[in-house]
Symmetry: D2
Subunit: 153 residues, 4 copies
């Protein structure tokens, strides 16, 4: 993302990310928050929740995936024009370690922003005290939805 970015446009894009994120009811339900929004780069932070776990008491893979997916989707969306929307086409996640931590940070980074498809790398770090561990790495494809064609991929 080495193109020069107009500060005003970047600020407007950041606002659109915050506005859209605020409509993702699941993020509020989980207690997840936007921690960083830059052009093509988004972090989402999630405190551990004992009610979002799998059978061994680690965060469920679907939960770390949910924040990774939103981080990647909003990283893509942060480079879109006003009026455009974003949908997830597909993703692939590798779980490197149990999601064992006090809080988690998902990061989405745009690797390639195309006219229709944006490819992002995503990851989730688990933090416990001063320690962190990479527990998920993934790739996702987000679709840019033009104003006139909502919901079409």
């Amino acid at each position: 993302m080495n193109t020069a970015i107009d500060p005003h446009a970047a600020r407007a894009a950041r606002q659109r990310v915050h506005d859209s994120f605020a409509r993702q009811t699941v993020m509020a339900a989980f207690g997840a928050k936007l921690a960083r929004v830059e052009p093509g780069l988004v972090d989402i932070a999630l405190p551990f929740r004992a009610d979002l776990c799998q059978h061994n008491g680690y965060l469920h893979a679907g939960i770390s995936t949910a924040i990774a997916d939103s981080a990647g989707g909003y990283a893509a969306f942060s480079l879109f024009e006003a009026g455009e929307d974003v949908l997830t086409s597909e993703f692939k996640m590798n779980f490197l370690a149990p999601a064992d931590g006090e809080h988690f940070v998902a990061t989405g980074r745009v690797v390639k922003s195309g006219r229709r498809l944006t490819v992002c790398q995503v990851e989730v770090q688990a933090y416990r005290g001063a320690q962190s561990a990479l527990c998920l790495v993934g790739l996702m494809t987000a679709v840019r939805v033009a104003p006139a064609n909502p919901g079409k991929a």
Copy 2:
């Protein structure tokens, strides 16, 4: 999964699936339930929840993924021996349509059950009245964890 299965062993395996599922706090938090447990095949049902949505009011991709992942993991687990545990190594999900429905059913089916790795196909159907739509297809790899080596992949 065409090997002959001892009915007693199958019943014990089904019970182990139910016991482990009951420890996945996230499934209770979502209101998800085991709808079918057969050797190598598991369905999980989830009623729509307005608090688990993405920015357009559809079920968030991480939520449909969570029930697909648990369905696949328990399909694998249903073929394991007593004392063994299951972890997700990786998965890949393609979203075919927005997860727009009154309730959802995730299905996991074992394609290949190996000594260490089990590969499953997963899908999620969205139901609205008498209509259903396939909204997710995926593949996952589950790891069999021996009693003496918990948490090691």
Copy 3:
């Protein structure tokens, strides 16, 4: 793919698949052939070649992937209109067993044919005498390229 298909259109589509396949120089180099072309379903057959192997003498994962990718891509393409082209956006392959056989058949099946994106399931069977083994299952996304916008995704 349960829409009624005009026989004339299906024949023309099949011819387009054959014409495009004939331009894939790699398929001729491998000795791979189209074995079946139906609307939304394509088989590609490949005899074993000792010069296309990995370090243990099995067919290299990239080769079974190549025929799976072409099978999926042409399954998608078989449902496109004249003048449209196909590109692979992404795929995911799980290797269930070593690709150990005298010949191999890759199958691509369309799961969802969208305006821009088509999702296909792919698999590869390895045959030895009367035996066969499923050695690869995968998912892929193909992009429909309109005549006026070649090469754009």
Copy 4:
């Protein structure tokens, strides 16, 4: 991969990578060569070949995948002990641009080296004159095969 590595052991591991690569007949058939072998990091270089193309004259996705898979597999293998072998369990590739170049370099990097499973990031760069373009990014899982259990995953 920040553990201290004994130079003698690293040299022996590098030799094992070269020996195993030399047995991959497909790499010789393609004209692919090992360009870099470091602990947990392998590059494979491939000159363009007109007989390894898809229908538009770009390198076929299966070919860029083949060198990416071998790069990732040998990156994993470079950290294994003598006598251990490597198999590909699964991979996922995103194609960012047509593989249009005079030569290509696939890079595999270990992200997590586990007792049984190693996860690698892979990519392929296409070079034309002084220009390069990232045409593939992917993730793969390699399996460590112990001497006594060849071919088992």
